[in-house]
Point group: C2
Chain length 333, copies 2
């Protein structure tokens, strides 16, 4: 079923049908009605490839993220998809698995009109940014969310990473911790360095020494992480507090503590970034920092659509900060 056939059945030209379906003012109300009725009857749908080719628009956006098995990106996709659905857009999803090579090949695939815009949360491995500069240079609307590249002048939607890092560390200090370990993501990641700066400043403000042996960079290999954490917790001078910069590291810590029969929070207090919805499932003694992932997704998508709709507008300066919240759990249970 295509335009031509539909036009033939109605005994009018394809251009009239096309205009009628797109509610053009050139077409009489009567014809429009007739066309719409027939289209519905025959279950006609425009061919997105033909229309996309002609109009040079895809009505599609791409979301590039490191993982989806993650308390952050799940809700974020939810927010993105709901905005896209409301706007009549389609959402392509691509996972990098924290691999910059994949990120590059994915952005390469999106260069020739497949999408009208891109939302990206960069991989932890991303150092070189020429593939992203290329996207920008081709004038494909681009918005960063959560994991951003500060040096690239595109809109960014982030949480208050420095502040929450500060608050989290402060919370542990208030709870009596003196030797607080920070489980970091690779330094290249903006969120990691900001969270760490919050951590460092909180220590300083409380006159606690910074011990570089307590700042540990982990990655997404759980068994390697657990081995590292195991060593950390077996030290004679074991930390009494742990600040995990992502949920996975808290899970890893939790498992090692179980294995070593260390009690959270008696032996060691733990705080981590996590998502509100399942926070209650975390060991109740872990305080969590809840990121408004759904809202971030919605916000990032909204900005992207603004860019898509009115090109030329200067969005370079937009940098939306959405506040996360500390969710204290009953720490004495």
């Amino acid at each position: 079923m295509n335009l031509k056939e539909l036009a033939r059945k109605l005994n009018i030209s394809t251009s009239t049908v096309s205009k009628a379906l797109r509610d053009s003012h050139e077409i009489s109300e009567a014809t429009k009605k007739r066309v719409r009725a027939k289209a519905k009857e025959l279950n006609y749908q425009v061919n997105p490839f033909a229309s996309g080719l002609r109009k040079q628009k895809s009505k599609t956006i791409a979301v590039i993220i490191p993982e989806v098995v993650n308390e952050f990106f799940g809700p974020a996709i939810n927010g993105i998809e709901s905005v896209a659905q409301a706007k009549g857009y389609h959402v392509l999803i691509y996972l990098t698995h924290e691999d910059m090579k994949k990120e590059i090949s994915i952005t390469g695939l999106l260069q020739n009109g497949r999408v009208d815009g891109i939302l990206i949360s960069v991989s932890a491995q991303t150092r070189n940014i020429s593939h992203l500069e290329e996207v920008k240079q081709k004038e494909i609307p681009l918005v960063f969310f959560d994991r951003v590249i500060d040096s690239l002048p595109v809109p960014k939607v982030i949480t208050d990473d420095y502040e929450s890092g500060f608050k989290a560390t402060n919370h542990l200090i208030q709870g009596g911790c003196r030797r607080i370990a920070f489980l970091a993501l690779p330094r290249t990641l903006s969120i990691s360095s900001k969270r760490m700066n919050g951590y460092l400043d909180a220590l300083k403000k409380n006159n606690l020494p910074v011990d570089s042996n307590l700042i540990i960079t982990l990655n997404h290999d759980s068994s390697a992480n657990k081995e590292t954490i195991r060593k950390l917790l077996k030290r004679k001078n074991r930390p009494d507090g742990i600040f995990a910069s992502i949920e996975l590291f808290a899970i890893n810590t939790y498992e090692v503590c179980e294995e070593l029969k260390l009690n959270i929070p008696i032996d060691v207090k733990v705080i981590c970034f996590s998502n509100l919805k399942t926070a209650s499932l975390l060991n109740p003694s872990m305080t969590t920092i809840s990121q408004p992932a759904y809202e971030m997704g919605k916000e990032a998508a909204s900005i992207l659509f603004k860019m898509i709709e009115k090109k030329g507008h200067n969005f370079l300066l937009e940098r939306t900060v959405i506040n996360s919240t500390l969710v204290p759990r009953n720490s004495t249970k």
Copy 2:
């Protein structure tokens, strides 16, 4: 940058360039090399809309799921995306939020060549299936995963819902429970009725009475669920075991127990479906049934690609069952 321009720069015809890029045997190795080099130099990418229109193929599949904020669908998408990426396909994602109307409008959007195939896990609300019959009738390859419609003859990838329902219930009985509540999804959902049948048969086999007051249908509204669970746990004849047919209901239960100062597993034992990766975050006293979501996604996508690649093959009978596993937690801690 398009074919024509590229051809002009090379001083050969567009068809030669097109064939060269697609590694046609009609083209000499020398020309191919020259073309590929120039294409790379000029960063040429085929226009997917033009090529899709001409070839009547989109190189894209759609995944329709109820939610993404979910321990099951996250890993499932991961599995799907990895297979798709390997095959050079793109993945569109659509969320129904358990709303059949949305499911219908989404399948409607996919009728005109936007995708080469569809993977779907139906919404809990889906009763009418004419929109899915329409997809099948238009010969768009379709595969169900996890939440299937038994009556529609298309390939299905499921877990052993009956068996795991049986095992889960048995586990609670073994643990000393005598009054076991079942927190069900709406009956329309195949997975729910199968899990319930397992539950019922386990009770029978252990000579325990079936109490219909203990079979409670919940939905995706957490506050309504919690209210229902609150009532359940306040009954004089409180259940001593709870079998939650999805993780969300276990979370809801957990929260109500905390509120009512009920101890899991002392006062009430809980078992639920969940995902291995975060199982350790669940209250350690909850035994979980781990579904191999990633594998299911991979399997479903593989079947879909088989259908896409060799049309006409009869896949109607394929019904892949992937076993879930019981993950007992230290229930005495």
